[in-house]
């Protein structure tokens, strides 16, 4: 009986497995294949050639990789701090008002990311919505915050806000109220409760939220391009240049592969430690 159920499970899963293989796994192999091609030649029969990786090191492409990871890390950290109180409120305090917040955040997603980022560019640019009004009304002026790394972090935090907020709220809702009350009753201050009870018990949500924002930020293109104006070169810019202007597909693939591997390794550590069933609300 159990064997049959297992087989049925496999059979019903087959279409999606095939789809995933074709649309997600295969491209990865194609990218990996390109990465070990000799540079500037296109031939399918060749020996593995790691010269692209040497170029990454020699020409300092690793710097933009570090920049990408650093900005992604910063974005994740900022989003965690910003989203925690709101997520806490949504999970424990607001009650029905939570629905209003959820709708407000989800509705923003209906507008394309690029349009929203353009909106910020128009708002923040010199003579734009904010600075322009300020100067017209008061005569005061300030330099535009655009085209620097903080505004890129701001843009990514803005765009990936829901990806931190909702998993975090889900994670916090897993913290039993009694556990918090009991810790307080046993003498714990609010800060101790936060660090020793609430955060560990909300860990699945924290992990999922952080992973989503980190992975998305590390691979983000539009923020650096639109708000950063290419003054800050992140890895995704390099990848794009290599594939387009550079026509150096092996280099572009090698850069992509490197980002994929590093992000995957960073993601594996927490994934192996959290219980996805717990956050899906299933019993352990």
């Amino acid at each position: 009986m159990e064997r049959l159920e297992h087989r049925l499970g496999f059979l019903t899963g087959l279409p999606i497995i095939v789809l995933l293989l074709i649309s997600f796994i295969m491209p990865l192999f194609v990218v990996a294949g390109f990465a070990i091609m000799p540079q500037r030649v296109f031939e399918l029969a060749h020996l593995p050639d790691f010269s692209s990786f040497a170029v990454i090191w020699e020409q300092g492409y690793y710097k933009s990789l570090l920049r990408s990871l650093g900005l992604a890390f910063l974005t994740t950290a900022i989003l965690f701090v910003v989203c925690w109180p709101l997520a806490y409120g949504m999970a424990k305090v607001f009650g029905r008002f939570t629905l209003v917040i959820t709708l407000a955040v989800v509705l923003i997603l209906f507008v394309s990311e690029n349009i929203r980022l353009f909106g910020w560019t128009l708002s923040l640019m010199k003579g734009g919505l904010i600075e322009g009004h300020l100067r017209a009304w008061t005569g005061l002026s300030f330099e535009s915050p655009l085209y620097d790394w903080p505004v890129i972090v701001f843009g990514m935090a803005y765009v990936y806000f829901p990806f931190m907020l909702f998993p975090l709220a889900q994670g916090i809702s897993l913290v039993p109220d009694d556990a918090r009350l009991a810790a307080s009753d046993l003498g714990a201050s609010p800060a101790r409760i936060l660090f020793e009870i609430e955060m560990p018990l909300a860990a699945p949500g924290i992990m999922v939220g952080s992973l989503l924002t980190f992975v998305l930020s590390a691979g983000a293109v539009a923020e650096a391009k639109l708000l950063g104006g290419r003054s800050v070169v992140v890895l995704t810019d390099d990848v794009e240049s290599a594939f387009t202007f550079g026509q150096n597909w092996p280099l572009g693939s090698a850069l992509s592969l490197m980002l994929i591997v590093i992000v995957a390794v960073l993601a594996m550590v927490p994934i192996s430690r959290i219980n996805l069933d717990a956050i899906m609300g299933r019993k352990r």
Partner: protein
């Protein structure tokens, strides 16, 4: 001699919006006492202990410990500790870390914490190698003990229990009730326990407070409550007791309502005009053989018989239409087929008069 009470709950009122959960409650608790608060859901017993440990704030009145007020002290600085109904163990910590949690907050050194945790495991009869186990690996009864160990590690002046045994199966509950009473004796701590089961309260407590609608109905020893409940409400908590509605007329003659009871002259000593009910416990009612007599007698028909193990319970339908519950020991069981006529009787010592016609009595005598 004026002795300062250990805990004094003085005229405490708790309102949630327009709902009054506790209505001017007063209660003194002695040091080292095992006090159980019994009441149906919504009677205010949970509210009372949440005020006691500081989870909620009192609306009016004061709570003091050894003469100093504690109702204004925040929960995490109050020398009280609660064992939650859900136990509220920390699932991400091992048994040892759970027990050590309050000690860590008190900045006890790791070595001392560990020693104390192991000592508490022994006290609660858990093997020492449970120290490293996770909460998820434990059974219900074991979790119960860990929750208790954690509360004891905090070393509070008062330990409050919010029906922690209610989720357990009957036999385990019975075992743990006795262990809890035993532990109370060994630790000498003040225990305040709440439950909706008077039976559970009677096993463990020095004193029992019965709550109803935000007031105390009766506060007394188990024996007192068992034999002399102040109201029908308290009596109804004890399971199947027989209540005979009765009024005494101006001439001092009893007027029974519906039961058809005959009282021997002089068996009732109630003042004219008295109105209320006579309580008679099922085990104090006898089957009368022909020719036997008792202070109170009633005729009826055997309706049903239930085996309770060591006792047998009978339902007898009286001529007046009332059902009387009788319990006899297994050895003294009555042999009568359903429908057979029976005569019941009991003596004047078995009778406890409860004045008043409503369900509840007057205010509790604190």
């Amino acid at each position: 001699m004026l002795v300062q009470p250990f805990v004094r709950i003085d005229n405490v009122t708790k309102r949630f919006g327009r709902f009054t959960a506790l209505d001017r409650i007063s209660l003194d608790i002695a040091e080292g006492e095992f006090l159980t608060i019994v009441g149906p859901s919504g009677s205010g017993k949970s509210t009372l202990i949440r005020l006691l440990v500081g989870i909620d704030d009192v609306t009016e009145g004061t709570i003091s410990l050894n003469g100093s007020r504690i109702d204004t002290v925040p929960a995490n600085k109050r020398p009280t500790c609660m064992v939650f109904q859900s136990l509220a163990l920390f699932p991400h910590m091992s048994v040892g870390k759970n027990i050590e949690f309050p000690l860590k907050l008190k900045k006890v050194t790791p070595a001392d914490r560990r020693a104390r945790a192991l000592e508490l495991l022994r006290l609660l009869r858990l093997p020492e190698d449970y120290y490293g186990k996770m909460i998820g690996q434990l059974s219900g009864g074991e979790r119960q003990r860990v929750a208790l160990a954690r509360a004891l590690a905090f070393d509070p002046e008062i330990i409050v229990f919010d029906e922690p045994l209610s989720a357990l199966d009957y036999r385990l509950r019975k075992t743990l009730e006795k262990e809890l009473k035993d532990l109370h004796g060994r630790t000498g701590k003040t225990f305040v326990y709440i439950t909706h089961s008077l039976e559970e309260a009677m096993v463990m407590s020095d004193r029992i407070a019965i709550m109803r609608r935000g007031r105390f109905e009766q506060i007394a020893s188990a024996e007192e409550i068992y034999s002399r409940p102040v109201s029908r409400f308290v009596a109804s908590f004890m399971g199947e007791v027989n209540l005979f509605d009765l009024a005494v007329d101006g001439a001092g003659q009893p007027v029974w309502q519906g039961a058809g009871v005959t009282a021997a002259p002089g068996a009732l000593t109630l003042a004219p005009g008295w109105q209320g009910a006579l309580m008679v416990r099922p085990e104090l009612v006898r089957f009368l053989a022909p020719g036997q007599s008792a202070d109170f007698t009633v005729q009826g028909q055997m309706a049903a018989e239930y085996a309770l193990g060591s006792r047998i319970q009978y339902s007898v339908q009286t001529e007046g239409g009332m059902v009387i519950t009788v319990e006899r020991p297994f050895e003294a069981r009555h042999h009568g087929a359903p429908g057979a006529p029976v005569a019941l009787g009991w003596d004047r010592d078995a009778v406890h008069p409860i004045a008043g016609t409503g369900e509840g009595g007057g205010d509790g005598k604190a």
